[in-house]
């Protein structure tokens, strides 16, 4: 299906494979940068992942000029401003994000502050508002899910106002994404499972929602196949670099797909559940994905049916049967991950209280991703989904 009109853009250089990390100084030099600011978090430091990054600079004409290792779980405008201040003080000339979605989005936010020469990140929230050329930006993911290493989007909290701000611009794409399996093998089983389901949700929602297009479909389907073949294996054998690299690629491909086709109702509810009740994003996505697919079944049955073989389900029978088989395949994957890694299967198991449903539903209908869902939802519709997923 070719839409009436679509746009697609991805300018990220992908450096993927064994010993990809030592290419870091070369990539910096190619971008004309020599004094890096590393943005990371305490979890990454504790896992010993900063060491290999430092080691990559041995004998090169590039250096780490500053390290910010206090990125919180949810990036905030305050933290972005702190990072930008340090960047200026230390005369850095490029950003390196080392970590998951929060570290990457914090670096994106700080890059806006530095490049737009502002002290107020708030002025740039919205879509396509950035005019300045961004500083060179390299991402080294340590989780395989967010896909932020290949997206034009950053979600950053405005702590004072208590809201999450969305920034979207083609200028926010990183220049380079370095996927090195050594940076992923330390990831705990449960986080591997949750982030892997996050990657799957990006790809599935990008494939079924209203902004889908043939180019993003190709990326989404590749991501789904990689998750199908490698997520369980990477939970079972955390040290298997081959499956870790495959999952890193799945996350990146899912990121490219949803950066161009956006996500839908599953993410609307997951964002709200995260904001209201701190349900981890990947966990919320894993629980809600089959329910979100079912919710859209009436509008997207044939498209969901197309996913059946990609998800490892039977590709035979009527469209309705194949669509149901595709949804069941997601449920089966969640059950397997529950057995292997303790991934919660219900919102109740994830610690959500029923009295939060209405607040979550009210936030979810105002989430920008709802616009891209094939079927609109009211507060009542979302409460009904939450009850099913409870």
């Amino acid at each position: 299906m070719v839409p009436n009109y679509y746009e697609f853009f991805v300018p990220v250089k992908i450096v993927s494979g064994s010993k990809a990390l030592p290419n870091l100084p070369y990539e910096m030099d190619q971008l004309g940068a020599h004094r890096a600011m590393v943005v990371t978090d305490q979890g990454v430091v504790a896992a010993g992942l900063l060491g290999p990054v430092k080691a990559a600079f041995e004998g090169s004409n590039c250096a780490i000029a500053a390290i910010f290792d206090q990125t919180p779980v949810d990036s905030s405008s305050t933290v972005c401003n702190q990072v930008a201040k340090l960047f200026r003080e230390k005369n850095c000339d490029c950003f390196i994000a080392l970590g998951g979605g929060s570290a990457i989005d914090t670096a994106k936010g700080a890059n806006i502050v530095v490049s737009e020469n502002t002290d107020d990140l708030l002025k740039f929230q919205g879509h396509e508002r950035l005019k300045a050329r961004m500083k060179p930006f390299i991402v080294i993911p340590t989780t395989a899910g967010t896909g932020s290493e290949a997206t034009s989007v950053a979600v950053i909290a405005n702590v004072e106002a208590g809201v999450k701000m969305s920034f979207s611009s083609p200028r926010l794409y990183p220049n380079v994404a370095i996927l090195d399996p050594k940076m992923l093998v330390t990831m705990p089983k449960k986080i591997t499972a949750a982030t892997g389901m996050d990657a799957l949700t990006h790809a599935v929602e990008a494939y079924i929602n209203l902004q889908k297009n043939p180019v993003s479909d190709a990326f989404a389907l590749s991501a789904i196949a990689l998750v199908r073949d490698n997520l369980v294996k990477s939970v079972e054998n955390p040290n298997d670099e081959h499956t870790r690299l495959a999952m890193a690629n799945a996350a990146l491909l899912g990121g490219i797909a949803f950066s161009n086709s956006l996500v839908g109702i599953v993410h609307s509810i997951a964002h709200a559940a995260g904001g209201v009740a701190h349900v981890p994003h990947g966990v919320a996505n894993a629980i809600l994905l089959p329910w979100g697919m079912e919710y859209n079944l009436g509008m997207r049955q044939d498209i969901i049916a197309e996913l059946a073989p990609w998800l490892g389900a039977k590709a035979e029978g009527a469209s309705a049967d194949r669509a149901k088989a595709a949804i069941q395949a997601v449920r089966d994957l969640c059950k397997k991950l529950n057995q292997l890694a303790g991934l919660p299967l219900t919102l109740k198991e994830a610690g959500l209280k029923e009295d939060k449903f209405e607040e979550i539903a009210k936030q979810a209908i105002n989430d920008g991703t709802m616009n891209y869902s094939p079927k609109d939802a009211t507060v009542e519709d979302i409460i009904a989904i939450l009850k099913k997923a409870y």
Binding site: Y5, Q125, G126, H127, M165, Q211, I365, N366, N371, K375
Partner: protein, 180 residues
């Protein structure tokens, strides 16, 4: 070397398109005011907006624009200009805006097809989009609503009465708004 064209002057067709969009913005802004007076559905939606919130709508880069403000619980049309909008929805060009104002494309599709972009908070934009959908319900004929909405809106008897009232009052209400 050939002639260097510095700027393309506006053709008559382009000026006509601008005229249609300007008239549509005036009609839409006036309808917004009227619907906010009579429709409980829009009143409920606006109840979540803080008093004084403004939003702008129009064509990017010097094209026709207008501003709406919430005042005393209702929507007030502030004229064919941007008056410190907290949030602005811009169509990228006049052709993109025409698709919407002539009922050929739904407002949600204008974002999906990248024909519009947003300056401001995304959550407030979703509230604005819902409010604009309610206004369109009372402004546009049924066959356009069926074509442009994800799910065509449902009408109660009270809604039909609101629609009749809005249709009757639209032209007289547009006259004072011409001078804002």
């Amino acid at each position: 070397m050939g002639e260097v064209i510095i700027a393309t002057p506006k053709s008559l067709t382009y000026k006509l398109k601008e005229f249609v969009i300007t008239s549509s913005l005036l009609a839409f802004g006036t309808t917004f005011e009227l619907v906010s007076k009579y429709s409980p559905e829009l009143k409920k939606e606006l109840a979540d907006w803080e008093e004084g919130r403004t939003f702008g709508l129009g064509v990017w880069n010097g094209g026709p624009v207008m501003t709406i403000q919430k005042k005393d619980g209702r929507a007030v049309y502030l004229g064919l200009k941007l008056v410190n909008p907290k949030l602005t929805i811009f169509f990228r060009n006049v052709d993109a805006a025409l698709l919407i104002f002539t009922g050929r494309l739904g407002s949600h599709m204008s974002f999906i097809e990248h024909r519009a972009f947003l300056q401001g908070n995304l959550g407030e934009a979703m509230q604005t989009a819902r409010a604009m959908n309610i206004v369109q319900k009372f402004l546009m004929p049924g066959f356009i609503l069926n074509k442009t909405f994800k799910v065509p809106p449902k009408f109660t008897l009270a809604d039909y009465l609101v629609k009749a009232r809005v249709m009757l009052m639209l032209v007289p209400a547009m006259i004072p708004n011409l001078f804002k």
